[in-house]
Symmetry: C2
Subunit: 245 residues, 2 copies
């Protein structure tokens, strides 16, 4: 008898070509499916709440999967952790309603982007933080962030130039905080386009360094062109923090 499960995962993305299974490449989905397939003796597929890009991390990715196993949820979690590499951890396994689907049922997500503004360098978390050459202007970035919040067509912030579906998304909040040497962007919304958080951060940093004005944000949104926005911030600073249902 198969049972539907909800898995919560934490991983450091550095060594992986993203979440999504890719032939002959190490991906997080691939690693999880391999362990579950060996456990069940059949090909197991896992549905993640979204794809994280190559090098992007997660503190709480959610995935759903149907399994035929005698193991209890805590036993399943321990089995997975024993056979998954040390940079992937399953923090929770619990039974889910038969129709629960981690991607289709998600109503919101929160990402955090972490930067280091010095002095020195982030020795112990260098894999999860982007090092900036100097400190950008926080007030300017906050002003720009406010203009990007809300429901907009985020086509200018989409990394996929051939995106056919709607590029309208609702960004509920872009919070900026500086604590010691860390500058963090926390972005919540109902869904995100390819590279969207990284382009939002890259654009805000341009504002922080004075190369773009906060007031330019509406025009950048209206342009509907990737070239109107700033660069894509590097993957290593990004982490999926929460998926809401």
């Amino acid at each position: 008898m198969t049972q539907n499960y909800r898995l919560t995962l934490c991983y450091e993305g550095k060594r992986y070509h993203g979440w999504e299974r890719k032939k002959n490449l190490d991906t997080v989905q691939g690693k999880v499916e391999d362990v579950l397939s060996r456990l069940c003796g059949t090909e197991v597929r896992v549905n993640g709440a979204g794809r994280t890009d190559a090098g992007v991390h997660a503190r709480a990715m959610v995935a759903s999967t149907r399994l035929d196993t005698d193991l209890t949820p805590p036993q399943l979690r321990d089995y997975l952790n024993r056979y998954l590499p040390e940079d992937i951890c399953v923090t929770e396994v619990r039974p889910a309603a038969p129709r629960f689907h981690a991607r289709l049922n998600a109503v919101g997500k929160t990402y955090r982007y972490s930067c280091w503004v010095g002095p020195g360098k982030p020795v112990f978390d260098r894999n999860t933080v982007q090092v900036l050459e100097s400190a950008p202007d926080l007030a300017r970035m906050c002003a720009a962030a406010a203009l990007l919040t809300g429901e907009h067509d985020f086509r200018s912030f989409c990394g996929n130039p051939r995106m056919k579906k709607s590029t309208v998304r609702r960004v509920d909040a872009i919070d900026l905080s500086q604590e010691g040497s860390y500058l963090r962007f926390t972005v919540s919304g109902n869904g995100f386009l390819m590279h969207m958080v990284r382009i939002l951060v890259g654009t805000l940093l341009e504002v922080g360094y004075g190369r773009l004005e906060p007031e330019a944000m509406p025009d950048i949104l209206a342009a509907g062109q990737r070239s109107a926005a700033g660069p894509t911030a590097p993957a290593r600073g990004l982490c999926l923090m929460e998926v809401r249902y």
Copy 2:
């Protein structure tokens, strides 16, 4: 004109064969001396407050060195950080009195040993934490730690069987704390023998798992034999936190 400097360094020890310079091996002292020698155009030697073993980390190692340079202390710090690898950071450079010597003037040190007791695994700090299979008994370990505190001959806790000099040291405090999945040992004293903190932790874990009694500590100290104490805990959990002058 040479000036004496005091450097504070933070490093992840994973990739290094310890602090102390070794021919043809990557060491932290070697990396720092190489950068300073290139800057000054002469062979520069740096004195660390102590040797950390291969794989051991530091949040605040202190070193002293005499340099002939026109750079200001902040410029020196930035120069070092630019040319040192990303797992070594100089957090502070300041002028020191002519006779200041990082090792000879040190009067105390604090180390922290970090363990993970689960569930799951320490994905983001796996390089600096030892994973334990189960949670040891904290009360038993605290009782044993109290019996190891104070001035004792720590020969049983010395990793060097040919140690000729005095093995008497004063351990001021061994504090144990559990916070979430982390179990931490914080050990302060006036000086430490080779592997001493790791053998103290390895012995306390034996007590925590019921394989040794807390009351056995005085006998272990009195034995003056390495074989009387517990195993040497792995290097990856250990970090030098502070050097006092």
